[in-house]
Amino acid sequence: MGFFTDTSICIGCKACEVACKEWNQLEGNKPQFLADSFDNTGQLDAQNWRHVQFIEQVPDNRGTLVQPTPIAGGQAWLMMSDVCKHCKNASCLEVCPTGAITRTEFDTVFIQQDVCNGCRNCISACPYGVIGFNDQTGTVHKCTLCYDRLQTGMQPACAKACPTESIQFGYIEDLHAAADKRLANLKQAGYAKAQLYGRDEKVYGGLNAFFLLMDQPETYGLVNERNAVLPRRNNMPGYVGGVATAALGLIAGLLAFRNGRMNGNNVGTNDR
């Protein structure tokens, strides 16, 4: 199961954010002015499991377009409801030392609150900055894809509340088919930059929450295919580098300790 978020029809109403907080009983952070378009949420974190981004690409005061508008490619004002991607190869799940992060029977990624001890290793690993630490619970939190609702046959709160059906929920295969069709329509209409993100395996083996974007992934704060890498890539090289250094260091130590003895016990005065 998963989400297909079609950003081309997102109107930035934030109903998804509100529904998510309502259902999951998230207090939210203290409101603040971020000077970032209509965004006063800021980012995904322990209190915000949905975050509507507002990316302005509009003319400046002199009428010059910062980015070329529509049909030629891109939109004047991009909006996207961001969420945990429930990656098929999840960085957070990979590094969790306690087994608190698991994959559910719905193929989603879930943090068991009674197991998590708040080490925050998953925060350092998540390439999308999805997971946040909650000071009150001492644990980390993120979107559960409304695991409790799924268990009773309901769809996630955000998808239920979305008035434009920008957020669609369902079986991944069905969502893929819908996304392919929508992309083809947009391309035919001349939206050259429209693209699917996380639809195929190039990004973390495929995303269970994937997107139709109207610009490059980086514009939305999403890593591109080249940078979609797992933390484990540094495991073996890191240990090999450590072993090589250990070998050099220990040999150097042995040589230093032996050399002095062989040279006649007179080195010590140098360092006095």
Partner: protein, 300 residues
Amino acid sequence: MPPAEHFVQPPHWEWWILGYFFLGGLAGGSYALGTLLRIAGDARDESATRIAYVASFIALIPCPIFLALDLGQPIRFWHMLVDTSDGGLSFNVVSPMSVGSWALVLFGLFSFVSFLGALADMGRLPAARPIASVLRGGPGIVWGVFGTAFGVFICGYTGVLLAVSNQPVWSDGGWVLGGLFLASALAGSAALLLLLARSRRDIASDTEGRIAAADRMFVILEAILIVLFFVTLVLADTVLRVLGVWILLWIVVLVGLLAPLVSGWRPDLARRWPPLAAPVLALLGVLALRALVIFSAQFG
């Protein structure tokens, strides 16, 4: 190689983790040096070996406390070892934090036993004499070698832990960080032994001189790895994150690297310094290196 791209949030690993990285490195490194002295040295080095083992365990004591205090749920520190979902052991070979937790437990065992043996040999703990007698000779060497393997792991895995992430600087430093932290820990441990040797004056000057010689080699190894670390950051286009205000810490690192080298290569200059200056500066350099790697990635 195109630049890396990062949209992650920082994990807010701060002062407790800095303390652990510093003391854990000294604990592992001191143990390794104690064992090397026992293997390569003779009876005159035994005093230094015992001090190394004692220093190792004392440095190790705060480590699990620091780690637990850094957790959001310190009482659940044991979840690192026990999987509370199924009651089995919690071990994730892909996660350096998981592997490191087990290594810390095992190293603690080796360090504690060697500590008891060293205390008994020093006449401070007569009840531990049986342990000391077992650890003399071959069995002691074997015990020390296994303990050193875990100790060296403790020195270096912290760098791998940082690298196995998607954080800027840490993940860009990739294969270098584990070795860099290891070399730095060995250099810091040699400096700590020198500091103790010059404070206590019950270590033979010959032994002290050879520890200083080893220190210089470790420092050279560390300096090479720092250069390689910079190269990896330049390639990833994240080198600016470790500059700016962090240059102040780099200066401390540089002074910490130069102090042991100068005291060895220009003894006429070093004689004008207080005897503890070089090892203290070296230890500050070790601390500064960890501080700038930890903090620059998260707040750079």
